[in-house]
């Protein structure tokens, strides 16, 4: 059924269609609308056979999900930003135990300075925790990916994060096709756990493992992700046949056939990038883009075959690996091992800074002219950065950085280029 709804509501409807049995809710912007909507559905009786638990922290949210999943219940929670970091220990634990929990990340920046707007710093911080990470490009895909995520998680007994750009997707109203409940039931069978706390067949879950077996247990986590490289496209194909639209998969190439410049990115910014690609194609530029839909596992082979014929790759990163560059570039560069081509990392959109079509076009033209650096910061205001650097050089007690920067700007930080 077509509905004009907020992204968060679309995600909540998608999750509800998956018949979760335990939902843990803890508020954090910009994810909160998702668990609010689910709470209302449970309270109204629209979502039956579901325990909805208001927990006291994100750490508890995932910990309760861990217990529920180990006891055989299909478990779901959602978080963002500081919340994801606060539950970090449980994030690793859920993956180490192989519990197929699905968690939405309403992607948001991480402080300090505190900031509620979108970037990918949160999910990137936990990229190596052993969870599968899928990035939604649109609200429709955000909904669809949750249905695929439960299927994938339970097939592998591995937790899955569905990463949805905060505000840009979570708070945007769009036309959404909400799948039919019966079709979802056919696509997603009831949860059959591979391990369960059962009085009739007692097991110990989470025992201590020493050097004699720890590496093997860890390798098996990696092995699940290798299997996911086959399962993710297979599930996406099956979804497409069942529901009549393409959602998810490993990578999504756009106009790359003869492209000399290919732009790589995660999530919603791919929409803007494709607009710019179209505009530049009209003007005769050989440019295309590649959306990475699955960041963990990273589709090295698929990225390579999409990128290998290009002259240059521009990676747009909504996350900064401080002191190095960007985490997406690391994967892209690895996929291109042995191939000589220019690779540019562009840090963009941190803390909700708008990534505009104009800025992207200027950037891509610069790349074509071979004027782009290895590491770039899109629309960085060098004037205020340099002012602060000078201030710190001149005065020992230069004061709080964020406050100084805001003073330099002269207004509340609401300016969008």
């Amino acid at each position: 059924m077509l509905q004009q709804i907020e992204g968060s509501r679309a995600v909540a409807l998608g999750v509800a269609l998956c018949r979760p049995e335990v939902i843990c809710a803890y508020p954090i912007t910009p994810q909160t609308h998702i668990v609010e909507a689910l709470g209302e559905m449970v309270k109204k009786g629209e979502l039956e056979n579901c325990e909805y638990i208001n927990v006291e922290s994100e750490f508890a949210a995932l910990s309760v999900s861990i217990g529920a999943s180990a006891a055989g219940a299909r478990s779901y929670t959602a978080t963002a930003s500081q919340g994801l970091l606060y539950m970090a220990e449980a994030v690793y634990n859920a993956a180490g135990l192989g519990l197929p929990i699905v968690m939405t990340i309403g992607n948001r920046a991480i402080g300090a300075p505190i900031n509620i707007w979108n970037d990918h710093s949160d999910s990137m911080a936990l990229r190596d925790a052993g969870w599968i990470q899928l990035y939604a490009e649109t609200n429709q895909e955000a909904l669809d990916l949750h249905i695929q995520a439960f299927r994938l998680a339970e097939a592998l007994s591995c937790p899955v994060m569905v990463c949805v750009d905060g505000f840009i997707l979570t708070h945007a109203y769009e036309r959404i096709e909400v799948p039919d409940a019966k079709a979802v039931d056919e696509f997603l069978p009831p949860f059959e756990p591979v391990q369960v706390l059962d009085c009739d067949d007692p097991v110990s879950i989470g025992a201590m493992v020493g050097p004699e077996a720890f590496m093997e247990v860890k390798y098996l986590q990696h092995h699940k992700q290798i299997r996911a490289l086959e399962l993710i496209p297979a599930i996406a194909d099956e979804f497409s046949k069942k529901f009549g639209r393409q959602s998810g998969g490993l990578v999504k190439p756009y106009r790359i056939e003869d492209a000399e410049t290919i732009v790589v990115a995660l999530g919603s910014v791919n929409g803007t990038i494709k607009d710019v690609v179209d505009e530049m194609r009209r003007e005769g530029h050989l440019i295309g883009s590649l959306a990475i839909a699955s960041f963990r596992p990273f589709p090295l082979k698929e990225a390579r075959s999409a990128l290998e014929k290009a002259k240059r790759v521009v990676v747009i990163e909504k996350s900064l690996s401080v002191g190095l560059g960007g985490p997406l570039s690391d994967g892209v560069r690895k996929s291109l091992s042995g191939i000589a081509m220019k690779g540019h990392t562009v840090i963009a959109g941190l803390g909700g800074r708008a990534i505009t079509g104009k800025s992207l076009k200027d950037l891509f033209l610069k790349a074509e002219r071979n004027e782009l650096e290895l590491l770039n910061f899109l629309d960085l205001d060098w004037k205020i950065v340099n002012q602060q650097i000078d201030r710190e050089r001149e005065t020992r007690r230069s004061g709080p950085i964020a406050e100084n920067i805001l003073k330099s700007i002269g207004t509340v930080a609401s300016r969008i280029a």
Partner: protein
């Protein structure tokens, strides 16, 4: 002829004698049908109070739950000594996630059981004092205030023993630990610090809170059984000496536990919905020195200046007055 009331105390030990009791009143451990839920062969130290407490508590819970019990365990000695891979001493479905979240994991298990309508299966969570009073406190408080259907058992040995005897918020004043060494003008753990978790649990108005000691195993079993007869959040705080951490003889574990109760330093009581409903009176009050002198962690208090011992005695006396522990 007037009847003389019989007291079931064995001479010298002050323990209620099983053999003098009716079969139905005997300890779970004295019964051939005990489940040995924490089975022999685990790697606890000699004289470990926690292993003993857990064995009694879980077997009693198993009997009360008709053997339909799942346990969530915090990281700590109990978790480590009972489950070095690929061995496990647990005969019940058992789960360990991380240090701080045993109460939350138990909440999740209980939620799953509820949604699957397995109402006969009961859930316990357990941890040491560090996993309960410190790092796990937020999760525990959340589980309490939601009144989740979980019995949480804290085995209190008054410090972080698994990591090598560091101070916790359950470490008593004056005690030497690796992080409150017996040096300087105020050796050991500072006075005026720490928290009383049973009282904090009571402040959540949960259906049942109790303290218990391995020095009174009959009482411990009875409290576990009572707790298992109630739905909602329940808390039992069990006092378990640690010979390694306390510097006491393994053969003195029961004696040390008993002296903690008889000195008034560890009051035994029950509370329902925030109100104390019963306490175990002290039958033979002992000065705190008797308790302290068996433990090297307090050895530095026995110098020329006995101020610290007097202050500990004052704590014990206040407990006795506050909880009404004088035998009437």
């Amino acid at each position: 002829m007037s009847l003389q009331p019989v007291k079931f105390y064995q001479t010298g030990t002050f323990t209620v004698g099983n053999r003098l009791l009716d079969e139905s009143m005997r300890a779970v451990q004295a019964n051939m049908t005990r489940t040995n839920s924490l089975n022999s062969g685990h790697r606890a130290c000699q004289g470990c109070g926690e292993a003993l407490g857990a064995r009694y508590a879980i077997d009693a819970a198993m009997r009360a739950a008709k053997n339909r019990l799942i346990a969530a365990n915090a990281t700590g000695c109990l978790e480590v000594f009972s489950t070095p891979y690929p061995e496990t001493s647990w005969q019940i479905p058992w789960m360990h996630s991380v240090f701080a979240n045993a109460a939350s994991v138990a909440t999740g298990i209980a939620a799953a059981l509820k949604v699957k309508k397995k109402n006969d299966v009961r859930v316990i969570a357990q941890g040491g004092d560090g996993g309960t009073t410190d790092i796990g406190f937020a999760c525990l408080s959340g589980m309490f205030e939601r009144n989740d259907d979980v019995l949480y058992i804290c085995y209190d040995n008054e410090a972080y023993m698994n990591t090598g005897v560091q101070r916790s918020s359950a470490t008593p004043p004056g005690a030497r630990t690796a992080t409150t060494p017996a040096v300087g003008p105020h050796p050991g753990n500072p006075f005026g610090t720490g928290k009383n978790l049973p009282l904090i649990a009571m402040a959540h108005q949960i259906p049942y809170v109790a303290t218990a000691s391995i020095a009174n195993l009959h009482d411990l079993e009875a409290k576990v059984e009572k707790a298992m007869g109630i739905r909602g959040a329940r808390y039992i705080h069990i006092y378990v000496p640690c010979p390694l951490g306390w510097g006491s003889l393994p053969s003195d574990t029961m004696k040390v536990a008993r002296l903690a109760v008889e000195s008034g330093l560890f009051p035994l009581f029950e509370a329902e919905h925030g109100e104390i409903t019963s306490r175990i009176p002290i039958r033979r009050k002992v000065p705190v020195e008797e308790y302290l002198k068996l433990q090297r962690r307090f050895a530095h208090l026995f110098g020329e200046d006995r101020t610290a011992i007097r202050m500990i005695q004052e704590i014990a006396d206040r407990n006795i007055a506050k909880f009404g522990l004088e035998e009437k």
